[in-house]
Amino acid sequence: MKKFTFFVLIIALALTPVTMVFASGSGESDVARHAFIFKNTGNPYGDKQMEGFQEAIEEQGFEAILRAPDQPTAEAQIQIIDQLISQRVASISITGNDFDALEPALTRAMDEGIVVLSADSAVNPDSRMTHINQADSEMIGRTLIQAAYDMADGAGEIAILSATSQASNQNLWIEWMQTELEENPDKYADLELVRIAYGDDLRDKSVSETEGLLQSFPDLEVIIAPTTVGIAAAGRVITDRGLIGEVDVTGLGLPSEMAEYIENGACPYMFLWNPIDVGYLTGFAATAAVDGDITGAAGETFSAGRLGEFEIVPAGDGGTEVLLGAPFRFDPDNIAEWKDVY
């Protein structure tokens, strides 16, 4: 009996790698493949963005590859970039977990003839051809502070709940928030930014960071969370603790996730844009770059399917970017309409 079990196990052991064949699906195709790498899995915002990317790529008749690491780290993305380089994809569009750490991997990709774009969260200008930005970063930063000012009635302590400390989009928006505060000392004299906490775009960490903020700053008026995972976590905590009306939550959130908190008042209003459109726009930018229609220089234009024409403009970090549009405000009046869309 023992010997039999032994041999069965040996066979099973040897065959384990074979299961991969069944798990992997189809073989190769001659169609150009365009890849999108998001920050991490389990992120509904990221899923929407990748959905839009896939829609754009498939609309043009190509194949889309969607990847995301399970941890929001740069080294995990580097591994994925390596694998995509080996697969000789036509383009890589990435939402960077780190502004600089991905440079060696991405420049290797570009050396191999792969077009590299960043979307949503930028990588440094040397690592990319151009960046697809959802909305003007300055506008996002300033608008959020103005919203906090409004919700705190002009005076009080506010805090920021961000994602990871290296995410370039987060840092850029926070920079503009701080600039808005510094440039208008008279207006914001009674408003104090007491803490920037990092929830890493992970649900449980965002929850515990929110609770930490509430404990350390009992007089906190507003939490600004420019991350869909963070704002949803903050909304949950405020609601569960019965602090609706005492502490307001605002930031960037998905209407589908935040509908509950906008309706119950935990979040008076918040902002976002359409992540599906961001992905869609990226998909067209990627194919335009592969076709040689654009090279990433300011002033070039390209067509993005149902979204129309777009122009490449200079970006704040020294490179170039493409802007989707202005941030959109969600409040009790329009949330019902948008919560089923995304």
């Binding site: 790698p17 992997s24 190769e28 697969q87 750490a101």
Partner: protein, 332 residues
């Protein structure tokens, strides 16, 4: 006491049949299978360039596999290595950015790692009543905690250009990491199989009491083994930081488990006293190529984890049945 079956496992003289029926040959078979399967799934896998360059993505933690083998043969475990990597890397980055010249910072990194390992060893030797799991569990938490205190949620980097040579550079087409790993494997292998120190490690894993009363300085062996683990964690920190260009307190999370998985798959029994250098070496490449190959086929991360987990369980089961491992441990 070791029984006849274990002695047969350790004895160097064997019949041809027994020689080929070893665990390590099974691993060779699995490795070949892995390469074949990977090439079937993706035409991009099988190229000399790929096979030589892929390892750099998983070799950084492979450096720790070498001393971890010693630790497990000894009958113990070290789960603090991931935290040691983080602490060494963070201290290196912070000191460099505070003005310390890069070469000195690299030495500091290795020193911190070595010290971290030595502390583990000393604690185990001074407090023999404490389970080894508890000791390394505590240092795992403490070391990473210190890293977080120093750097918070931030990243630190900005290393000089030449530093990326460690993780990305090549000599005559072969990645520097691969060359270094080969040298390290040769050294650790020699130490294990050809010196009296290596014999002592095996002996202590099988029966520490007998060793002690035979004149082996068991305390010294323990300290040296854990210090080596710490040193290699420092080496990993150097390569990891070089590949990433920066470092954070939360790097290398989970490394200890991946390393232990590689060692276990390599035929090193967690009961101690059994294992050869070839085993974990093959296991490193099996797990590495498997993950890489699956990534090439764009399989999602969860599937990769399930496959590797299954491989591990099956391998442990096979080992148990074939070699009938049932011994009680003795600690000294």
């Amino acid at each position: 006491m070791a029984d006849a079956q274990d002695l047969r496992r350790i004895e160097t003289k064997r019949s041809w049949k027994e020689f080929f029926f070893q665990w390590e040959w099974l691993l060779v078979l699995i490795l070949i299978l892995t390469v074949i399967i990977n090439s079937l799934i993706s035409p991009y896998f099988l190229s000399f360039y790929n096979l030589i360059n892929t390892p750099t993505s998983f070799l950084d933690k492979a450096f720790i596999v070498l001393p971890m083998m010693y630790v497990i043969i000894l009958g113990r475990i070290d789960i603090s290595v991931g935290s040691t990597v983080a602490l060494s890397a963070v201290l290196m980055a912070v000191s460099y950015n505070a003005g310390l010249p890069m070469p000195a910072a690299i030495v500091l990194c290795l020193l911190v790692g070595t010290l971290g390992g030595m502390i583990n060893g000393l604690l185990m030797v001074w407090f023999k009543e404490l389970s080894f799991v508890i000791v390394t569990l505590s240092t795992m938490i403490i070391y990473r905690g210190i890293a977080y205190i120093i750097l918070g949620d931030q990243a630190s980097g900005g290393f000089p250009e030449w530093y990326s040579f460690f993780g990305w550079g090549r000599i005559a087409g072969v990645p520097f990491m691969l060359i270094t790993f080969a040298i390290a494997t040769a050294i650790f292998g020699f130490l294990l199989h050809r010196t009296s120190f290596g014999r002592a490690v095996y002996g202590m894993g099988l029966n520490a009491t007998a060793c002690r009363y035979s004149g082996v300085n068991t305390d010294r062996v323990t300290i040296i083994v854990f210090t080596l683990a710490g040193l290699m964690a420092g080496v990993t920190a150097v390569f990891l930081s070089s590949r990433m260009g920066s470092t954070r307190p939360n790097v290398a999370i989970g490394y200890e488990l991946e390393v232990i998985a590689m060692v276990a798959l390599g035929g090193v029994s967690t009961n101690g006293g059994i294992g050869k250098i070839a085993g974990p070496l093959l296991a490193v490449f099996i797990i590495g190529y498997l993950s890489y190959g699956m990534g090439l086929a764009n399989l999602q991360a969860p599937i990769v984890l399930v496959v590797i987990g299954s491989l591990l369980i099956l391998s442990v089961l096979v080992m148990k049945i074939r070699f009938g491992l049932r011994r009680k441990k003795s600690t000294v």
